[in-house]
C-alpha cells in the first residue's frame, strides 16, 4: 500500500502554485519530479566530496569514486544485470541508443536489415535511419493495430537471416502500450539477431530483469525515475558490448596511449570517455533507492488504480476518444475531444495549473497512423492522487465549454 500524503511531502515542487492554482503535474512520462532524498544527494556531493573519479589518490577522489561505483552496483542490482561493468553510464536514453547505432555502423553491411516497431519515439527512429544511410542496411517497420498493439504475426514475416538488430520500446511514450518484449526477444534470437529495448517509459513502472528477459541491450534515463536529467543507462550483455567499438575518444576510455597506438580500456570505461556526470550518477542510485523503498510493485499497483479511475472519469466526457487501448498499458492516457485541437486544451488546462503534454509526443508516425495532429496526454505517477484526476476532469470540462 502507498501512503500518498506522506510521499507527497518528499516532493517540494508539488507544493507550488501555477497561474494561481495548485500544480497538478500530469506530465510524468516526459519527466518525473524529484524527491528531497535525491536533491539532497546532489547537494551533499557538491558540499562534501566533489572530486574527479578514477584518477586521484586523494581521499575526496576516492570517496567520489566509491559513491559512483556504488551507484553502478545499485543499478546493476535493480535491473539484475550479471555484472556491474554491463552498466554503462550515459547522458540519457538517446545517448545510449546512439552508442549502439554508432557501434553497429561498423558491424553492418549493405542489405542487412534492421527492424523498428511502429510505436517508436523519434529518438529510436532517427539514429537508425542515419545508420542505414551510412551502411546501406534496410530499415523495416513492425506494424501496429488500431488499439496501438504490435502485430507479432507481421514480425514473424519480417524476421530472416538478414535481420541483424530489432529495436522496440518496452512501453510506448505516446500511448502507454506495454509491448510483449520477452516474446519478441525470443523470436528475434531464433534468427540470430540482437534486440535493443528502450526502457525509458517502462522503468518508472516496471522493473525489468535483463537476465530473465535475455535482452541484449536495455536503455533508460534517470529523469524518468525520480532522478536528475542528463544521466542515463546503457545495459548491454558483456558479449554484445565487447564487440561494439568505442564511441568517443578521450580520457578514462584508454588503457595505454602512445603516439603510435592506443589500446582501449575494458568495460565499462571503454564507453565512458571523459569526466562523467558524477553527481547525477550518484543521484540516479539514490533515486532507485527511493523508488525501491516504496516498492516497485506497490507503485505499479497504485498507478494502475489511477489509470482505471482516470480512464473511467474521462470516458464520461462526450466526444472524448482515448488513443492506445491495449489490455496491458502503463498509467498514460492519450486523448482528444471531438475536433478540438490538443494545443487549445493544453493551453487552457495550463491556465488552471494542470500540466499535461500536448502534440505529437515526438512520435509523428503514430499520429499519422491515426490521422490526428496530436493528442493530449495525461501521465500519472505514484505521487499523484485521485483528487488531482478529478480536478483535471473539471478543468477539462470547462475548457471544452470554452472551446466548443
Amino acid at each position: 500500500m502507498i501512503d500518498v500524503k506522506k510521499i507527497r511531502k518528499d516532493f517540494p515542487i508539488l507544493e507550488r502554485q501555477v497561474n494561481g492554482y495548485p500544480l497538478v503535474y500530469f506530465d510524468n512520462a516526459a519527466t518525473s519530479q524529484t524527491p528531497v532524498q535525491v536533491i539532497d544527494t546532489i547537494v551533499d556531493y557538491y558540499k562534501n566530496y566533489n572530486a574527479n573519479i578514477h584518477r586521484g589518490v586523494h581521499s575526496l577522489s576516492q570517496e567520489a569514486t566509491d559513491a559512483y561505483e556504488a551507484a553502478r552496483q545499485k543499478i546493476q542490482s535493480h535491473f539484475n544485470a550479471a555484472h556491474p561493468y554491463e552498466i554503462i553510464f550515459t547522458s540519457g536514453t538517446t545517448h545510449s541508443i546512439n552508442i549502439i547505432a554508432s557501434g553497429y555502423s561498423e558491424l553492418l553491411k549493405a542489405g542487412d536489415e534492421l527492424l523498428v516497431s511502429a510505436l517508436e519515439h523519434h529518438s529510436n527512429i532517427v539514429p537508425w535511419q542515419m545508420l542505414c544511410e551510412r551502411t546501406g542496411a534496410i530499415l523495416k517497420v513492425i506494424p501496429m493495430d488500431e488499439q496501438g498493439v504490435l502485430i507479432l504475426d507481421e514480425l514473424d514475416k519480417l524476421l530472416s537471416d538478414k535481420t541483424k538488430l530489432v529495436f522496440v520500446n518496452h512501453v510506448s511514450n505516446a500511448l502507454g502500450t506495454v509491448n510483449p518484449i520477452a516474446e519478441i526477444i525470443e523470436k528475434v534470437h531464433a534468427v540470430g539477431a540482437e534486440v535493443l529495448v528502450d526502457g525509458a517509459q517502462a522503468s518508472p513502472h516496471i522493473q525489468a530483469d535483463v537476465q530473465s528477459l535475455n535482452v541484449d541491450y536495455y536503455v533508460t534515463s534517470a529523469h524518468k525515475l525520480c532522478g536528475p536529467t542528463g544521466v542515463g543507462m546503457l545495459f548491454g550483455k558483456q558479449v554484445a558490448l565487447e564487440k561494439l567499438p568505442p564511441y568517443q575518444g578521450g580520457g578514462e576510455m584508454i588503457a595505454e596511449v602512445t603516439f603510435e597506438k592506443t589500446t582501449y580500456a575494458g568495460l565499462p570505461h571503454k564507453f565512458e570517455a571523459g569526466t562523467p556526470n558524477i553527481s547525477g550518477v550518484i543521484a540516479f542510485g539514490a533515486a532507485l533507492d527511493y523508488m525501491n523503498s516504496i516498492g516497485m510493485e506497490n507503485i505499479a499497483a497504485y498507478e494502475e488504480e489511477l489509470l482505471v479511475h482516470g480512464t473511467k472519469e474521462l470516458m464520461k466526457i462526450p466526444g472524448l476518444k482515448i488513443y492506445g487501448e491495449a489490455a496491458h498499458k502503463t498509467a498514460v492516457i492519450s486523448f482528444n475531444v471531438g475536433a478540438i485541437h490538443p494545443y487549445d486544451i493544453g493551453s487552457i488546462l495550463d491556465k488552471m495549473g494542470i500540466a499535461v503534454r500536448t502534440g505529437h509526443h515526438c512520435a509523428q508516425p503514430i499520429m499519422d497512423f491515426y490521422k490526428i495532429p496530436g493528442t493530449v496526454r495525461a501521465s500519472f505517477s505514484f505521487y499523484n492522487t485521485f483528487e488531482e484526476i478529478d480536478l483535471m476532469v473539471v478543468a477539462l470540462k470547462k475548457a471544452i465549454t470554452m472551446l466548443q
Binding site: 478540438i340 485541437h341 487549445d344 493551453s347 487552457i348 502534440g359 495532429p373 470554452m402
Partner: protein, 141 residues
C-alpha cells in the same frame, strides 16, 4: 488609416476591460472563430509553417502600397492570436511592418503563446510576415 502602434494600443485597451484570464481567452477564441479564412489555394504546403504543436498558414498580397495578410491555423487559440496579429499588421505599408514590435502581446497577457518553446508556429509566422514585408518593400522601391 491608423498606424500599427495605434491599433496595438486599441487592442491593449480592449483587453484591459477583462478581469481574468478566462475572459481574455474567451474573447480570443471568439476572435479565432471570426478570423476571415485564408483562400483555400493558399492553405497548402507552400504556405505552411509547421510548429510542433499547431500548424499555421500565412499569405500576403500587395494592394497599392499596403500589405494584406490572410492566415489560418488548425488550433483555435493560435487562430485567435493570428487574428490579433493580422488586425495590427494587415493593411499597412511594408516599412511600418518591418519597424513594428510585438510588445503589445505581452501587455495583453498572451506572452506565453509567443514563446519559441511553445512551438505553435506563431514566432515563425511573425518572422514570415516580416519577410513578406521585406520582399514587397523591395518590389515597391
Amino acid at each position: 488609416m491608423e498606424t500599427i502602434k495605434a491599433v496595438q494600443n486599441d487592442i491593449i485597451e480592449e483587453f484591459s476591460m477583462f478581469d481574468d484570464w478566462m475572459q481574455r481567452y474567451e474573447y480570443m477564441i471568439e476572435l479565432g472563430k471570426s478570423l476571415p479564412l485564408i483562400a483555400s489555394k493558399f492553405k497548402s504546403d507552400d504556405y505552411i509553417i509547421k510548429g510542433c504543436q499547431s500548424k499555421v498558414w500565412v499569405h500576403a498580397d500587395l494592394q497599392g502600397t499596403k500589405l494584406i495578410f490572410t492566415a489560418d491555423s488548425d488550433a483555435i487559440i493560435t487562430k485567435g492570436i493570428i487574428a490579433i496579429l493580422i488586425r495590427a499588421y494587415s493593411n499597412q505599408h511594408p516599412d511600418e511592418i518591418l519597424n513594428a514590435n510585438n510588445d503589445f502581446i505581452d501587455k495583453i497577457g498572451l506572452k506565453e503563446h509567443l514563446s519559441p518553446t511553445r512551438a505553435n508556429g506563431l514566432v515563425s509566422m511573425i518572422k514570415q510576415m516580416k519577410m513578406y514585408a521585406l520582399a514587397f518593400k523591395t518590389q515597391l522601391n
